[in-house]
Amino acid sequence: MFLTRRTALLGALAAPAMAGSLVRIARAQDTGPIRVGALTPQTGAGGAYGPGMVKTIRTVVDDVNGAGGIGGRKIELSSEDTETNPDAAVRAARKLIDVDRVAAISGTWASAVTTAVAPLAWENERMLFTVSGADSITKLPHKGYIIRTQPNTYLQGGRIGQYIAADGAKRVFALSAQTPFAIDSYNRLSEILKAGGSSAVGDVIYDAQKTTFRSEIDQALKAKPDALFLNGYLPDVTIILRELYRAGYDGKKYTFGYAAGQKLLDSVPAEVTEGLIAFSPSPNVGSPAYARVQQILGAEPDPYSAQTYDHMSLIALAIAKAGSATGPAIHDNVRAVGDPSGVLVTSAVDGLKALAAGKAIDYEGASGPCKFTPIGDIEGCKFRFEAAEKGKFKLLTIS
């Protein structure tokens, strides 16, 4: 029996789902709705970040559609889950590209995911906007189809090293989660610390999936550091902070804003996080875009959601400038909407109005000035440094 009962049953379960999608064969990209895709980690190791990222993307889409769309066309957003897994992400990307026919994709958090999805983007000529930090990503042969709003390891390590050295730390030990850029960022940090009169005294790389880091912390404290650089993510950094407190460590602690947002501060007692300094890429003080993202998320924005807000805004503006909603059109115009001689705009809606009036625009976003090098990296950005005080973050400086 070729088609047995059980396989028929399972086929019947899956068929209606697939049939529904076959009906929506999207066609032309220059009339009808504008299609964009969100590809974010809703589950898996990056699952803490995905929901916020989609929220800001969706809000920009709603704002633009509410103001009349782009040239009268509405934006249609399709959202898929990378599962923080390159295999699943590739299939999700294929669906976005081939079924939903999106012109651009925003999101992709894990570097391995971005590296896997990137060839699909450039081979099909769709724009990929990513928040991944690994240096190797923009070095892929992407023909200009990748824009990365996250400062790469080189840039970040440099800025952070400068700050830590200036902050008076003399012996810095790094606790890094196993990521593609753990070693690169430590090397860059050591280099900059030395130049600033400080020193990196050691590095331990841990598996972020673990639930206890006592041995790693013992190793770190043995080197008698006066400052610790916590180069991990939210779940593991939360545990490490608690264990550092238990171990009686009272020195300086530095980490990335994406690892230590308000969520972390809320989930552990204040004594545990007291004095923790977190840094994130940032726009200028008083940036209206940043304030808008704060409003959307109802809390301190995590750096990724701020970036995806900018992704979607840039997409909308590039399409408007090009007068066409294809991947190549966005590819050709994404830098043009950051024209320093243009009118300063900080939201997609304002930018669209200005473009409609025939003006050149300079979009500055919630994650920074949004100016990109030819290979898609940001040209530079400021960082905000915040310190945890009694369970709340206090802004120290933006520089």
């Binding site: 999608s21 897994n85 081939d98």
Partner: protein, 301 residues
């Protein structure tokens, strides 16, 4: 849309191949193996490393991948020779996890969590994305057909008969003079080889491999494929591959049907669907995964 379906057909072929491999180890020889993704990963990485780092030609790299996976299959079979059922399950789970850890940590070899990218594919720069998909779909399903045929022959051969005898009762087979260990090792090697081949094809299709892509969940997908298609039959394995992809991809379109749910809820539904499907399949097959003697407590009066 057609391109998407083509791509999904390619993935279905990979799962069909893996189900075929599992069928030899599990269906024929009755040896539990929850470490499938480990052999898959070995095949993928071997081929990727040879073609990217040493510029070896693809067909040669694929042969090497198959050999590497088979060798590991032999090693695992020898290490676990005396283990039964539940122990074997847990140990093979651990094996797959160790492979993933090695892939993540031995940067000098595998590039760590960064993975290996730019893996070449047959005529990759030359064909359009659609053309490439067509070639790979043909390659994938062609392999499924050929391997299913070969394994079918193997199953009907004396070798296959001995394996089935071992599956039913090892003691009897041993008493009958069969070198049980040798047969088990060979079965493991054959199964692992097929899994390794699937891995090599996967690496060249995706152009990218990373440790994160080889999770234990994939093993579950393969088990689902085999059980849904029908353990013991090669045809069933092929069908199972299609069923699994239909489920994992079909569930994606749930989001359109249930717009009030948040994305993380849609995602958890999709993952749950696989678990539910596996349970449903197990129910529909009252004899279970293997026609084995019931060793659990039959607590029904």
């Amino acid at each position: 849309m057609e391109n998407y379906l083509l791509a999904m057909a390619v993935f279905a072929a990979f799962y069909a191949l893996m189900a075929l491999g599992l069928n030899v180890i599990w269906g024929l020889a009755g040896m539990v193996n929850l470490g499938l993704v480990g052999f898959f990963a070995i095949g993928a990485y071997t081929s990727a490393l040879l073609t990217v780092k040493l510029q070896v030609a693809m067909p040669l790299a694929w042969i090497a991948a198959v050999a590497a996976a088979a060798a590991c299959g032999i090693a695992v079979a020898l290490l676990t020779a005396r283990l039964k059922g539940d122990y074997l399950a847990i140990v093979t789970l651990g094996f797959a996890e160790v492979i993933r850890l090695i892939a993540s940590n031995e940067l000098w070899l595998t590039g760590g969590t960064n993975g290996i990218s730019n893996i070449p594919g047959p005529w990759r720069g030359v064909l359009s994305p659609e053309g490439f998909n067509i070639v790979f779909a043909a390659l994938g399903w062609g392999s499924v057909a050929v391997i299913a045929l070969l394994l079918g022959r193997l199953s009907a051969s004396p070798f296959g008969r001995v394996l089935r005898a071992i599956r039913e009762d090892e003691m009897v087979a041993a008493v009958a003079g069969k070198r049980v260990l040798a047969f088990k090792v060979q079965a493991f090697a054959v199964g692992a080889a097929v899994l390794g081949f699937a891995g090599a094809l996967y690496a060249h299709y995706n152009a990218f491999v990373a440790p994160d892509g080889f999770t234990a969940l994939i093993t579950i997908y393969v088990v689902l494929a085999l059980t849904a298609g029908g353990t013991g039959t090669m045809r069933g394995a092929a069908l199972g591959g299609v069923v699994v992809i239909a489920l994992t991809e079909g569930s994606r379109f749930l989001a359109g049907v249930l717009p009030e749910l948040r994305p993380v809820q849609i995602a958890s539904l999709r993952e749950a669907v696989i678990g539910v499907a596996l349970i449903v399949v197990l129910y529909i097959r009252p004899q279970g995964i293997l026609p084995e003697r019931a060793r659990t407590l039959s607590l029904e009066p």
